[in-house]
């Protein structure tokens, strides 16, 4: 508790207090006496509501946190935090936005905290990448609303942000999926109190709400609510409830509150009208609950359509049937006229079995012939073949034709029917044609696949394709038309080119190349870890409070000096923790001592997480204190033989300032070291 008056280590009374860093350091020995000094000042911080709040005690900004500083809470509310990690900044930013939005929605603190947790999870899963921060925040908030069951709609959020609801919805769905959070389904009953309040029913608010709830439940049972926006249903229920209690609420008023379209509301009302519940009087409704449930309205609409279609089908079928009957009468007459072969019955028998065209009954030459013809039919695409068949055993074919319904693919009879009969057979002809095509496509396929990309032209009608290509006059006309249509775009392009040409002339033409996302740094070539760190720090320049030039010089002497990295080396017995602002100081201590020949305690710096701001310096002792050196070398994380050149050090000594203090410190150390060793 030397509140900065007397140093505990050296007894020196000269304590320097740095307000910016919140440190109290003894200028004699350099030990840090106090860290994180709480400053009693009044600070005005803007809170999420836009108002100001005074903060009377704060820890000064921790601008020099290294990678160990993961806690973003220190110095929160500041904007001017340098060197703070990007992740911490993102989280802080997110938290601020969540509070801002949440307050507008009147969410309580618990909800906001939960939302912030969701946000943290999202950030750690990199879901914020490529998405607007506001969208992610809104999605987190809506997720909280859903899980808590607050009567907030996605529409409200989109109203606040002026963003398309579906865009927000997409982000929300993704977030819910990635975080494996199952948002419970929204219940329209949740919205009733909110909307009822907005419609200002006064004293009867509660009664109207209850009526509306009952109506909603009825709607649910009548299957009106599946797949519908809950707000639309609420609107309809409230409107009816209001009327039931003698409140004159127009459709327009309800719409404004509920945020649906007028036509939607009317539609819901009509659907409700269709249910049997609508026939009850008000009193009856309050008392009775009808048992039967209705189908969803879209289902009934669909059913109606189906019925109409079926009717049409039935009608057309009947027509076909009649025609079929007529043709079959025709056939029968002709058959009886020409029928002379008793064995034909055998053919029938064979055909009544399923698809027995392949079966060859021995001693039935007709069948075999049929087989051959069938195969031929399968192989040829030519229609003339059908005529051949027709000319041959027309009678038999016709008989077989009657059984066309029983047989399936690869059947000749339908083909003949088409030549004989009217409409219905045309359909069957169509079938066979496509069947042929299918068969031939099967043959085509393997050939094409084995080819090396050559276009197989079979089946492609060239003449038809030729029709797709315009001749010259047509092309000209088309070109003109297109030019007229796209005149605006072409004009824009011309202007752009003219602009570029002008700029080129003037020499100020800037090539707007697509922005490269990251600065490409050259990979650091270094032989030792220390060098690599030094080079990296040179490039990065993390802190403004370190004189890099000096550090670099130090490093050039050949010792390792980690400036801000975590050097988790174990504390050997030889270590003494030093904190320095300028590591040079300690360096200089070494020099005179070295030259004097005193036994130096090698100092190994360790950076402890709690003493984040303190800098500690390593410089292994290159002097041949063999055991010590080896010990410390073993302990040091950064290995690397270090050449400690006393001569150079002596030169440097003259340049440096701060000699006196350092001298005394090291002397002290030297003395203590023997003790502490």
């Amino acid at each position: 508790m030397p509140g900065g008056r007397v140093c505990a280590a050296c007894g020196c009374a000269e304590i320097e207090v740095d307000a910016a860093r919140g440190d109290a350091v003894c200028t004699g020995c350099g030990s840090v006496l106090e860290d994180n000094i709480i400053v009693s000042e009044v600070q005005f911080v803007e809170n999420s509501g836009g108002g100001g709040a005074g903060r009377s005690a704060r820890a000064p900004g921790r601008g020099l946190q290294g990678s160990a500083g993961k806690t973003p809470t220190l110095g929160g509310g500041f904007h001017a935090n340098l060197g703070k990690e990007s992740r911490a900044q993102t989280l802080q930013n997110g938290k601020r936005q969540i509070h801002h939005l949440g307050n507008q929605l009147q969410l309580n603190q618990h909800c906001l905290d939960t939302a912030f947790n969701f946000f943290k999870m999202a950030v750690s899963k990199h879901l914020t990448r490529g998405r607007k921060m506001t969208h992610v925040i809104a999605a987190c908030l809506y997720l909280v609303c859903r899980t808590e069951g607050t009567p907030h709609m996605l529409l409200d959020l989109s109203d606040l942000l002026q963003v398309n609801v579906y865009v927000l919805g997409k982000t929300f769905l993704l977030l819910a999926r990635e975080l494996c959070i199952n948002a419970p389904a929204i219940d329209p009953c949740l919205y009733i109190p909110r909307f009822a309040h907005m419609l200002e029913f006064g004293d009867k608010n509660h009664e109207v709400s209850m009526t509306a709830l009952r109506l909603l439940q009825r709607m649910k049972r009548d299957w009106m609510h599946t797949g519908r926006r809950p707000s639309g249903l609420c609107g309809a229920a409230l409107l009816v409830a209001a009327r039931m209690h003698d409140f004159r609420r127009t459709v327009k008023e309800v719409i404004r509150v509920v945020k649906v379209c007028e036509s939607t509301l009317r539609k819901r009302l009509t659907e409700f009208e269709d249910t049997p519940t609508s026939q009850l009087t008000i009193d009856e409704f309050m008392k009775i609950d009808l048992e039967e449930e209705c189908d969803p309205p879209s289902f009934t609409a669909g059913q109606k359509k189906l019925k109409i279609q079926q009717l049409e089908k039935a009608l057309s079928k009947k027509l076909e049937d009649f025609e079929g009957e007529i043709s079959s009468y025709q056939d029968e007459i002709e058959i009886e006229l020409e029928n002379s072969r008793p064995k034909a019955k055998g053919v029938f028998a064979n055909f009544t079995k399923d698809d027995s065209i392949e079966d060859t009954t021995p001693g039935f030459p007709r069948e075999e012939e049929a087989d051959e013809e069938l195969e031929a039919a399968a192989n040829h695409l030519n229609k003339d073949f059908y005529n051949e068949l027709h000319e041959k055993d027309g009678g038999e074919k016709r008989e077989v034709g009657e059984y066309k319904n029983g047989n399936e693919a690869l059947v000749r009879p339908p083909a003949l029917e088409s030549l004989l009969g009217p409409l219905p057979t045309a359909a069957s002809l169509g079938i066979t044609e496509s069947i042929k095509e299918c068969i031939s496509t099967n043959y085509r396929e393997p050939g094409e696949n084995t080819g090396d990309g050559e276009l197989d032209l079979s089946g492609i009608d060239d003449s038809e394709i030729d029709r797709y290509i315009l001749n010259e006059t047509e092309a000209q006309i088309k070109a003109e038309l297109w030019m007229k249509e796209n005149a605006d775009y072409l004009k824009e392009q011309k202007e752009k080119e003219a602009r570029i040409a002008k700029e080129k002339e003037l020499g100020i033409y800037k090539e707007h190349k697509p922005k490269k996302s990251a600065k490409k740094r050259e990979p650091i070539q270094a032989s030792t870890a220390g060098e690599a760190i030094e080079k990296m720090l040179e490039q990065k320049k993390i802190s403004s409070k370190i004189n890099y030039n000096v550090l670099r010089d130090l490093n050039s002497k050949g010792s390792n000096t980690p400036k801000k990295e975590d050097d988790s080396t174990d504390d050997s017995t030889n270590t003494k923790k030093l904190s320095r602002r300028k590591s040079i100081a300690s360096r200089n201590i070494a020099n005179p001592v070295n030259s004097v020949g005193k036994r130096l305690r090698p100092l190994i710096s360790t950076q402890l997480a709690k003493k984040a701001a303190t800098e500690e310096v390593t410089f292994p002792n290159a002097q041949a204190e063999a055991s010590d050196v080896e010990k410390t070398a073993a302990v040091l994380v950064e290995s690397g033989p270090v050449a400690y050149n006393p001569d150079e050090e002596v030169e440097e000594e003259e340049i440096e300032e701060d000699d006196d203090h350092c001298m005394s410190a090291l002397q002290l150390m030297g003395g203590n070291g023997e003790l502490g060793c």
């Binding site: 709609m153 996605l154 529409l155 609801v165 579906y166 919805g169 929300f172 769905l173 819910a176 999926r177 494996c180 199952n182 389904a185 929204i186 299957w223 599946t226 797949g227 519908r228 926006r229 809950p230 707000s231 189908d295 969803p296 879209s298 289902f299 669909g302 299918c438 496509t441 990309g453 050559e454 276009l455 197989d456 032209l457 089946g459 492609i460 060239d462 038809e464 394709i465 030729d466 029709r467 797709y468 290509i469 315009l470 047509e474 092309a475 088309k478 070109a479 297109w482 796209n486 775009y489």
Partner: protein
């Protein structure tokens, strides 16, 4: 029981999307001028060519990649794609028909019963997602088949998947779940 219902259910394929490459650079301007049924979208750099016989629309890029949509079966898609390549050949380009691949198949199927969507969502938690505020159907994703089904309360189901087989098996898979939540 399932097999019977599968037979009774007819799955209508409404759209098949496929891609192929012509392995040669195409001059869009020439196609636009000489084709009878093309729309030239210069701002995005593509040409839309519509065929009548298999009713398909093809999007042609100058790199030679072509996307073909609107076919009603896989065979038709291939047929249409080949016709298209043929017509490009006739226009004078050295077209080679390679890398034909069916990318997406969209099918519609009707269940003979209605479905309770909130109940269905609850019992199929991670796969099904239902946002009545956004869309009236439940979106059910099958990761193994890479298929997505949109299930409506009327019992109609829209399936999209990488090929016809996947679509058929997706419908088979979903049937028991949907049957469990039927009205």
């Amino acid at each position: 029981m399932d097999a019977d219902s599968d037979v009774a259910l007819d799955i209508l394929i409404t759209n098949v999307v496929c891609v192929f490459r012509t392995r040669c650079h195409l001059n869009l301007r020439k196609i636009a001028l000489e084709g009878a049924n093309v729309i030239y979208k210069r701002d995005v750099g593509k040409v839309l060519m519509k065929l009548r016989k298999p009713r398909i629309t093809a999007t042609i890029w100058s790199s030679g990649k072509v996307i073909c949509t609107g076919a009603t079966s896989e065979e038709e898609a291939k047929f249409g794609a080949r016709r298209l390549a043929r017509s490009l050949q006739k226009l004078g380009f050295q077209v080679i028909f390679t890398d034909f691949k069916v990318v997406n198949v969209l099918a519609v199927c009707n269940m003979p019963f209605e479905i309770r969507l909130p109940e269905f969502t609850k019992s199929n938690r991670p796969h099904a997602s239902y946002e009545p505020e956004l869309h009236p159907a439940v979106c059910y994703r099958i990761k193994t088949l890479r298929a997505t089904l949109q299930i409506f309360s009327t019992g109609s189901i829209t399936v999209t998947g990488p090929n016809v087989k996947a679509v058929a098996s997706a419908v088979e898979q979903i049937y028991p779940f949907v049957f469990a939540s039927r009205k």
